[in-house]
Symmetry: C2
Amino acid sequence: MTDGKAERPQGRKPRRDADGLTEEEFLAGYDAGDYERPSVAADMVIFTVAGEKEENYRKLPKRSLRVLLVRRGGHPYLGCWALPGGFVRPNETAGEAAERELREETGVDRVYMEQLHTFSDVGRDPRTWVMSCAHMALVDSGELKVRAGDDAEHAAWFELTYRLKSESRERLDEGGMLHVRRCELRLTPVRSDGEEAGDPPTDGDELTAVVEHRRIRTNRASTEEYAIAGNKGLAFDHAKIVAMAVDRLRGRLEEGELALHLMPELFTLTELQQVYEAILDRELLKAAFRRKAEPLVEKTDQYTENAGHRPSRLYRRSREEWGDYS
Amino acid sequence: MTDGKAERPQGRKPRRDADGLTEEEFLAGYDAGDYERPSVAADMVIFTVAGEKEENYRKLPKRSLRVLLVRRGGHPYLGCWALPGGFVRPNETAGEAAERELREETGVDRVYMEQLHTFSDVGRDPRTWVMSCAHMALVDSGELKVRAGDDAEHAAWFELTYRLKSESRERLDEGGMLHVRRCELRLTPVRSDGEEAGDPPTDGDELTAVVEHRRIRTNRASTEEYAIAGNKGLAFDHAKIVAMAVDRLRGRLEEGELALHLMPELFTLTELQQVYEAILDRELLKAAFRRKAEPLVEKTDQYTENAGHRPSRLYRRSREEWGDYS
DNA sequence: TCAATAGTGTCTATGAGACAGTATGGT
DNA sequence: ACCATACTGTCTCATAGACACTATTGA
């Protein structure tokens, strides 16, 4: 993910510090001391969009946004579902740790991945001081073969909805403004995913959480924070992480390009539109969508077959355009 | 910044793990073990926009984007300039640590602040395993009273330019695409800042670095990374952090609202425009700018005086509109 | 033939970019 | 008077939203 060692600035002569040591000497004698240090975990919000087959041979399958969760086999939050993740090791970056986790959990390797946020609330892990450097990844559902974890934990896909439940704006006395959006996060386990017959993940059924997104804006300050206002079945502060990931995913969508990482090699524009709709949780107009999408994709000469209706042209992700960053 | 303890999910009965322990019993006997843990620092990219007085009584002062840096008084990188920062303590979040650092360094307290990214390259700190949870903050230059650090380090403002030097797109053999943008970061110390006579920070003069922003896009992967390609006078990987902060700042500007945090209580639209121009490093059209800005601000009935030209109306940040998040 | 989707054309409202024009206070 | 800025008006063009229309398949 990154480039090894920090660069040493050029053109400096060896300098000596207050103790008369050069940098080399200083480092040789350096003692890390025993300040308390946090454990840092890399947690992954792994998204995919997939749809079941439709009974009506003509209709297209509905597609839904899904996240991968892992059932906790030990305390704390025993039996709850959590984001896949693991501790960052001294010889890797947080991004590499996240990639490792992704690989272990899904078998998928090279996908879109982005660092989300580092969560460091005091007491977020009841065991000890643990920060979570959260990442999100987008995986084409075709690539997937979720393996139940080897460590007696079960991984499963959950359909995700994240909807605004209520919203309020309020003036504060000091002349500021408080804006609260209360959103409901609902995760329902996907039955048998088609692949891999075994291990029906059904257990407590649906996980739900209410996440408050509050923006406080006083005279010249401006804060934004997520808080968990209710939570059933999700471990730690992971409801907050998922909420932030969905918000980010939706935001990134507007910038184009990104949803392509959820698509297989070849796809139709309608499929791409469905992915957008599943993520944004609203319907889009066909004509407008196609206009926006066209510059991001590349025509092929292939068409779908046996669809029960007019065949549609297949596209692939365009390697030409990167959008124009000036 | 966040809401204390993680929420416990509701509606669960005490469960026992494989050892027959309840969660309470498990936590009571929990031993954190002695895995190696990283130190986590919170580093701050503190931005402001300010301008010197102009010799011509009629002309408006030019404004420039500035960052606060701190001179390192010890190894490693002795004598180099670094971002202000400090280690996160067990009883605070990374955000709180960053706020603390901001307060210590600038005396300013409640401003816009945002977490940027957590940098965890292996070897980024030659002493030991240190991650940096980087933040950026926007400070109205009127509020500032930079105090030279008490710990024998000097803090100083640097004018910042960050410009594209070269750019290349290249197809990879495997069908991917490599897009490299090479940008030059140039930091020139601001002479005497007007406030606080003492301590002219001039020393080695200008700091420069070249930061490569590479986006690799193979078949379905997509990576984005910053790398330092040259560096004079900046400690650690801080050139990378500053580069990312500027990119983020510019990106956020498009979304409106944000630049207001760099403004004093009352300001003219031209001043606001200058702030935009200083950050984006390009000129904007007046008419278009005013149209975009108007919804974000609130008219007052006050005007500038003694300007040597037509007085201009003063505005304040509007508390009404938050933009429309649907 | 029909259900269901594929794909296109066009009208309108909105907003950005560009540029020219008028207004006004201080010296 | 005149400089430098404040502020406004308007033209054009590109784009988003809305909606209607035609095209094409397999059962």
